[in-house]
């Protein structure tokens, strides 16, 4: 579709209207049609009056769900905030870049503690709202919805969500800085007065992603990210994202 790389005219939009309604166009075409419709005053009757793909679903014989599904759904709803009703995000003050020793120093740790124990922040909707590709992130959405606690993590590199899943933990990058090709983010959990424990590495992707951590949050006082060349056993640089955990 190189000839359509930049825009579509009305005739081209009408030509693929049916495919568009059925979700059967390439991503570039989808974007171009959407952009065209946003600025075009032509009626485009085939789109306006067209048969939505939903009609095909209506033709299917209904399938009754299991009894358990409704119960599971209502339990999920009860702990899932709505986007428009989500409470304010509790932000953490970004860590000052004082070197790793300062990062782990008792004074710094007390400062974090004074800033407040980690809040359970209902951030699923906030995060999802920032992600245009939510519908492609089933695993992320589900993990957020089912997490026992969702913490906002901010710092010089951006922000993310730390999920306490009960059985473990995971990190969801939200607006993290891109990295050079030879760098990655490494996640750390740090016990009070102890050394950082490496719990995972990742590179930010184009869409929502879930980074399972090697260990759960219990017993740790701090979560942090550093930027490394490869997975290392001890941080080599300053933390770019930090969160003080409760307890």
């Amino acid at each position: 579709m190189s000839d359509r790389a930049t825009r579509l005219d009305c005739a081209a939009v009408d030509e693929i209207a049916a495919a568009y309604l059925l979700g059967a166009v390439d991503p570039d075409e989808e974007r171009l049609v959407t952009e065209h419709l946003a600025s075009c005053r032509a009626p485009h009757a085939e789109l306006r009056d067209g048969v939505p793909g939903e009609v095909l679903a209506m033709a299917l014989a209904p399938v009754e769900p299991s009894l358990e599904l409704r119960e599971r759904l209502m339990a999920s709803i009860a702990r899932t905030p709505q986007e428009h009703a989500a409470p304010p995000v509790v932000e953490r003050a970004p860590t000052t870049r004082g070197g790793l020793l300062g990062w782990l120093s008792p004074g710094w740790a007390r400062g974090l503690a004074a800033a407040g124990a980690a809040a359970v922040v209902a951030l699923a909707a906030w995060n999802i709202g920032l992600q245009a590709e939510l519908d492609a992130s089933r695993a992320v959405a589900r993990a957020i919805a089912e997490a026992e606690a969702v913490h906002s993590v901010t710092g010089d590199a951006g922000r993310g969500l730390l999920l306490d899943t009960g059985a473990g933990a995971a990190f969801v990058p939200a607006e993290l800085d891109d990295l050079p090709s030879d760098r990655l983010y490494e996640a750390w959990l740090i016990p009070a007065g102890g050394a950082p424990v490496a719990v995972g590495t990742f590179r930010p992707g184009d869409g929502p992603m879930l980074v399972p951590l090697d260990q759960g949050l219990e017993g740790f006082a701090t979560f942090a990210l550093t930027i490394e060349r490869e997975r290392v056993a001890a941080p080599t640089g300053d933390p770019v994202l930090v969160l003080a955990l409760a307890g």
Binding site: G23, D49, V55
Partner: protein
């Protein structure tokens, strides 16, 4: 399945206000058609139920984005179910090369129009009858598109026809459905289409 979601807008308002029972009503109303859709796409009962669960959760979370002027709550829900199902399919199957590198890009579900209010008074039986009137190749084309997430370029490869023919089959199929279901005045059939 309830075929006349006339009070979807009211239900959406109640969900938007945070009334969990309203979401339960939405589930009771459309869970069976949502599951039928998911099951048709992923062909796995447990996966399909997970998709339905996640889709209703998404409706709950994002209800503020729903615009009743653009379509029905049912249409929105089913679009979410369908898109999530297709996303799952696409993670587990190889892509089909259809020509240029641009065309090999990972597929994404189109934001199908939700101007579906006219469907509120149409029954599943009517839709099935209308689909039954379509030529096999046109019905196959729209099923590949909607239930399998194939683009018209991929449909062309799968069915062994030129892209224009595949696209034309989609156009003709929807035009015939629109006419059979009396969903509009009817746009002219595709000029240059090679099938009627």
């Amino acid at each position: 399945m309830t075929d006349a979601p006339r009070d979807d807008a009211l239900l959406a308002q109640r969900i938007r206000s945070g009334e969990q029972a309203a979401l339960g009503e939405l589930y009771d109303r459309y869970a069976s058609v949502a599951l039928a859709t998911a099951l048709r796409i992923v062909a796995d009962r447990q996966v399909a139920e997970d998709l339905v669960h996640d889709s209703f959760v998404a409706v709950w979370q994002k209800i503020d984005r729903f615009d009743a002027a653009r379509g029905t709550l049912r249409g929105w829900l089913l679009t979410i179910v369908r898109n999530r199902g297709i996303d799952r399919l696409r993670t587990t199957r190889p892509t089909i090369e259809v020509g240029t590198a641009d065309e090999q890009a990972l597929l994404r579900t189109g934001a199908a129009a939700t101007a579906d209010a006219a469907l509120a008074n149409i029954s599943g039986a009517q839709v099935r009858a209308a689909l039954g009137e379509l030529p096999d190749e046109q019905r196959r084309a729209i099923e590949l598109a909607y239930f399998e997430g194939r683009t018209y370029r991929e449909i062309a490869v799968i069915t062994g026809v030129p892209q224009g023919t595949a696209n034309g089959r989609l156009r003709l199929a929807l035009a015939k459905l629109r006419e059979a279901l009396r969903l509009g005045e009817g746009a002219p059939l595709a000029e240059g289409s090679d099938e009627r």
